[in-house]
């Protein structure tokens, strides 16, 4: 087997890796965003509950959570490993993303909310138009870190049999007896993906930077 086809075979797993990431990251973001808003603005009981939720979710290794969620989902709604795995990773990531966004919301000054209310905006409008635009900008750097973690954690769905990069590397290393080459290729593809994402998000951060923000 020639080297090009060898690399191509592993690289074709990238579609699955990206697929998992593109499901997990945005769903984790949306869920994390909603949870963060409830955490900050939803009163004491909600905050308490979410703090416990977050501590538990972030205290358990992702692969353990992945297995639990996967078996729950595949047992009840019979999802494919790809979807069950991706959604599970999204749920896991949401706990981390909630903390990122919560921290960013808290660092936007409380005065901004008051000023928005003072011109007659509703709380929801103030959150939507004043607090969140500032929050999300602040959240980009830690969020880009989380994006890298999700890309790397997408390799865990290997254990569910999804034919992503690592699984392909394993399959071809068995058939060609070239494990070192196979896993090195896999590692470099992951590295490229992480690097690419970080660069992209840094660009985004610079694009969205507010001039001379105090």
């Amino acid at each position: 087997m020639d080297i090009i086809r060898f690399i191509q075979y592993i690289a074709s797993g990238t579609a699955y890796t990206l697929g998992v990431t593109f499901v997990a990251l945005p769903s984790g973001l949306i869920l994390g965003l909603i949870l963060a808003i409830i955490y900050v603005y939803g009163g004491k009981i909600a905050a308490r509950t979410l703090s416990v939720y977050s501590t538990i979710m972030r205290g358990i290794p992702p692969i353990v959570l992945l297995f639990i969620l996967y078996f729950i989902m595949s047992g009840t709604i019979n999802l494919s490993p790809f979807w069950a795995g991706s959604i599970s990773l999204g749920v896991i990531s949401s706990a981390y993303q909630m903390e990122i966004i919560r921290g960013a919301i808290l660092s936007v000054s409380g005065g901004q909310m008051i000023a928005a209310l003072a011109i007659g905006m509703s709380r929801l409008q103030a959150i939507r138009y004043i607090v969140l635009p500032q929050t999300l900008r602040l959240a980009i750097p830690p969020w880009s870190n989380e994006a890298a973690i999700v890309i790397k954690d997408s390799s865990l769905v290997y254990a569910l049999g999804v034919p992503e990069i690592l699984r392909r590397a394993q399959l071809i290393s068995a058939s060609t007896q070239q494990p070192f080459l196979a896993y090195t290729t896999a590692a470099l593809i992951y590295f490229g993906l992480v690097l690419f994402t970080n660069t992209l998000l840094r660009r985004l951060e610079n694009r969205l930077r507010i001039p001379a923000n105090p």
Binding site: T55, I56, R58, G59, I60, P61, P62, I63, V64, L65, F67, I68, F71, I72, G75, A148, K152, D153, S155, L156, Y158, A159, L166, A169, Q170, S173, Q177, Q178, P179, F180, L181, A182, Y183, T184, A186, A187, Y190, F191, V194, L195
Partner: protein, 228 residues
Amino acid sequence: MSDWLNLLIRFFDDFLVGAGVTLELTAIGLVMGFLLGLGLALGKVYGNKPLCWFSTAYIELFRGTPLLVQLFLIYYGLPSLGITLSQTLSAYLALGLNSAAYQAEYLRGAILAIGNTQMTAGRAIGLSRWQTILHIILPQALRLAIPSWSNEPILLLKSTAVVFLIAVQDLMAKAKRAATTTYNPIGSYLAVAVVYLVMVFALNALLKWLERKARIPGFEMEGKKGSL
């Protein structure tokens, strides 16, 4: 619920053994990672060009790729270069090498925070460059690094949970066995999730305690982020 308790009781000893292996992996990975990470941090800050370049590349590569891939590369890949390691040894090595990259960054941050003035001060009293690093900079930097560094043991503990995929008999491997013998995967993984949580909480409490003991009032870095 009582089913689940039965499962927990039946496999309790097994889980305990697995938890021991998990803690061992964490401890060894942490120590290896610290020693290597310290070298990398010093290499990146004070090293000559090739050393600095090597440290940077190492840190970026290991932080930019999944631990699982690193683990497979070591366990399945190295034999084709003539290096064959046992499962456990591979796991130690992967965790240590991986953790080194992260620990290097914590330590580097602290070294940079100490700044050049301390180096100047050390050189001014006649110490050599490496003497200054060893006797002046490091004692301060290590103290300073504690708050951010104290995230690492917990992160590492959690990341050890993938080593069962090369059949190391850690806590997760025990869970898998419980799952296959009882046909109750959800219960089994929930059980070890609880064990992991207990370990993480205990470790967290220990680290908080150490952090408090090691604190020097007024001597700390800004922007410390808590882990839990």
